[in-house]
């Protein structure tokens, strides 16, 4: 029978070569599929992975798309390292947007230097509130955070729908479910005038580096890693698990809230019912793709953002249906995670006799 067992040691070479191998395999397999569909395989793969970058404002679009994914992915990778399974980043993202957006709507005439920091801070606090509730439920009632954080995602979404169809609806909006546009001075600075390059594009990599330093170089980070790898050992060592759960949920929630408020003010400009196209769930993939390493999350976020842009490009220039984007992303993730799995484990054919002897 087939058995999967850990290799024990990790090859330095394959650690870096495995993502590249995965990319090559993705190119080959998806190329075959495209060829079977009667499309030029080389050009199609090129359209997915390269063309979005060469388009006008392509890099800018990539940065804006990747920023929330990286920001949330970093927070999630920290939490997951400590075995705190925050699945509800989407809800924290939305609550951040609600709190920050609410400030922007309440003080449209405040000077930009005063209101924008308040908006951002409110966003972070909104995400932390959501994350903190999950932490409290886990610590106080031992409630599984996978369930509670996911359920809070629905609560946040419906709170958003309630607000934009009810009390916060734009009075000039003909009853459509959306708030008024945020006033210009609440939107925050742009890296390039008249673009949607908001400060999140700079903050995301900074946050990643900061959390990497914390995780790898600080005592708190050490405690996180120990808690994730050996919870009993952590308890024997006297690490307070509840404190770590609080920190993990507050940081991952706060970062999701930050991503949410920057998305609302930076690219959307108002609150609408479909503010998050599932960023919080995509960020889970990003976190794992980045091997739960905050620095690894940066390329992972960029890659996932790229495939989304590539999907649009493939529809526009090749007339491929949108479902093909899903197939392409699926193949890419399959090989990335598959190569990773084989990097850390080996598959062996074990005959029944050997097994019995053990």
């Amino acid at each position: 029978m087939l058995r999967i067992e850990p290799r024990g040691c990790e090859s330095k070479f394959w650690r870096y070569a495995s993502p590249l191998l995965a990319l090559v395999l993705t190119g080959v397999v998806s190329g075959l599929i495209f060829a079977a569909m009667g499309r030029p395989p080389g050009r199609t793969v090129y359209t997915f992975l390269v063309m979005p970058l060469l388009q006008q404002d392509g890099l800018q679009a990539l940065a804006v798309k990747a920023a929330p994914l990286v920001m949330m992915g970093v927070g999630l990778s920290l939490a997951y390292r400590a075995n705190v399974w925050n699945i509800g980043a989407d809800g924290q993202f939305i609550l951040g947007a609600i709190c920050g957006g609410g400030m922007a709507l309440a003080f449209p005439d405040a000077p930009a230097w005063a209101i924008f920091p308040v908006v951002v801070l409110a966003g972070i606090i909104g995400g932390m509130l959501n994350g903190g509730l999950v932490a409290w439920l886990r610590i106080r009632f031992n409630a599984n955070e996978i369930l509670t954080s996911l359920m809070f995602a629905y609560i946040s979404q419906y709170l958003l729908v309630y607000l934009v169809t009810g009390p916060w609806r734009d009075p000039q909006g003909y009853g459509f479910p959306q708030t008024a546009m945020f006033a210009d001075n609440t939107l925050g600075p742009r890296l390039v005038a008249d673009s949607n390059l908001h400060i999140g594009v700079v903050l995301a990599p900074l946050v990643a580096v900061a959390l990497w330093l914390m995780l790898e170089r600080s005592l708190l980070g050490f405690q996180f890693r120990v808690l994730g790898q050996a919870a009993r050992a952590a308890r024997f060592a006297g690490f307070r698990e509840s404190r770590l759960v609080w920190v993990a949920m507050l940081i991952s929630g706060g970062l999701a809230g930050l991503a949410g408020v920057l998305e609302a003010t930076g690219t959307v400009g108002q609150l609408t019912p479909n503010l998050s196209p599932g960023y919080g769930f995509t960020a889970i993939i990003v976190a794992f793709l980045g091997r739960l390493n905050p620095l690894g999350v940066i390329p992972a976020g960029l890659l996932l953002a790229l495939t989304y842009l590539g999907g649009d490009a493939a529809q526009i220039s090749l007339g491929l249906p949108n479902a093909v984007t899903g197939i392409f992303q699926g193949i890419l993730l399959f090989f990335l995670l598959g190569c990773d799995m084989l990097l850390l484990n080996r598959v062996r054919w074990v005959s029944g006799g050997t097994r019995a002897a053990r």
């Binding site: 679009a61 003909y174 609408t272 019912p273 526009i316 949108n322």
Partner: protein, 360 residues
């Protein structure tokens, strides 16, 4: 906030003065590139499907004089702005954005690409190079309501709603007014799924309505799921946007069928002739933009009444939102003899007496 709104309108005005210079006939040698954005997959067999049929018809009509590009499943968010930018950058001169939520992004992109013409379905913001167009879906709802009023034994119909925007409110009200025109006691229950295309949610909403005693179902969402849910429970229902009879041949009574083709052909022709102007189009039966799918699964007398109602609406004899109409609280919203005008319809946010449930 108000100021910002007006700045935007003022900007649109400034654009208008620059427009004539932009209206140049397209070069005959090069095909006109026309882009389409869809909210759902073209395989939703509803809203987006119907737009795509019209795109194909227009492509066939003009042959090699135009080249069309369709982008499906474009979310109503910053992504759609990116898609419209890419379409403009790759030489598309006319772009049809076929969902309400694209509105602010259409205006933003149109400001950046002033040599590109935009057509936004179901929205209300226009600019010198942005037109809006929509169908008077409520006319079809009234016809459906008349049928439902005749067929519903409980006098209670279920409405699978999408998002409580005026278009959907008009639909619910028109449906119930149609029902009440033949059964004054008729009532309507509804569930909003807060989206346009979500087959599992749509189906669940239909089942929940049936469980609450509704014995006829209509939908304002894009997939055939509610129709199929009704078929599963053995009750009758209406299709949406396109003739969905093949999904539930023994269930669909009729469907309001959106007819975008003539509009698309005309607007593409306008761009090619250099006569495109920013307009607001809102047509129904009378304009050939809406039609009813064949009346089926009902007694001939009901089918005849439905046909007659359709003809009366088309000729202007029946005006649907004619007083007296009371809202849920019993307040007279439309006095006897008065008719609601388009402006009032476009911002309709109240439900007529007999609709159960609140909008928000």
């Amino acid at each position: 906030m108000l100021r910002r709104h007006f700045t935007r309108l003022a900007g649109a005005g400034a654009l208008a003065s620059a427009a004539p210079a932009l209206l140049r006939p397209a070069c005959a040698a090069e095909p006109l590139k026309v882009g389409f954005l869809y909210i759902g997959p073209v395989g939703d067999f509803g809203w987006s499907h119907q737009h795509d049929l019209a795109r194909q018809a227009a492509a066939e009509h003009y042959g090699d004089k135009i080249k069309t590009t369709a982008v499906e499943s474009v979310p109503e968010g910053p992504d759609c702005e990116k898609v419209m930018n890419d379409l403009a950058a790759s030489g598309h001169k006319l772009i049809f954005a076929t969902s309400f939520g694209y509105m602010n992004y259409v205006i933003a992109v149109a400001r950046r690409h002033k040599d590109v013409f935009y057509e936004h379905a179901t929205g209300y913001k226009r600019a010198a190079n942005v037109s809006t167009y929509n169908i008077r879906f409520y006319q079809g709802r009234f016809v459906q309501g008349v049928i439902a009023g005749k067929l519903s034994k409980a006098g209670l119909a279920g409405y699978v709603g999408s998002v409580p925007v005026p278009e959907v409110v008009q639909g619910m009200n028109a449906f119930l007014l149609g029902m009440q025109s033949v059964n004054p006691q008729a009532r309507l229950k509804f569930i909003m799924i807060n989206g346009w295309y979500d087959p599992p949610k749509e189906g669940d909403a239909a089942k929940a309505l049936i469980d609450q005693g509704c014995d006829i179902i209509t939908q304002h969402t894009d997939s055939p799921a509610p129709l199929q849910a009704a078929a599963g429970r053995g009750i009758k229902a209406f299709g949406q946007a396109t003739d969905m009879a093949k999904f539930a041949p023994n269930t669909q009574l009729t469907a309001s069928v959106d007819v975008w083709t003539p509009y698309y052909i005309r607007r593409i022709g306008d761009v090619m002739a250099g006569t495109w102007k920013s307009t607001n189009t809102w047509g129904g039966f009378e304009a050939g933009m809406l039609k009813m799918a064949p009346f089926a699964n009902m007694p001939p007398a009901v089918a005849a009444l439905a046909s007659e109602t359709e003809a009366d609406i088309a000729s202007g004899k029946s005006r649907i939102f004619i007083g007296p109409i009371k809202d849920q609280g019993g307040t007279v919203k439309v006095p006897a003899g008065a008719t609601m005008d388009d402006a009032a319809l476009s911002s309709m946010q109240w439900l007529v007496e007999g609709v159960e449930g609140k909008l928000t």
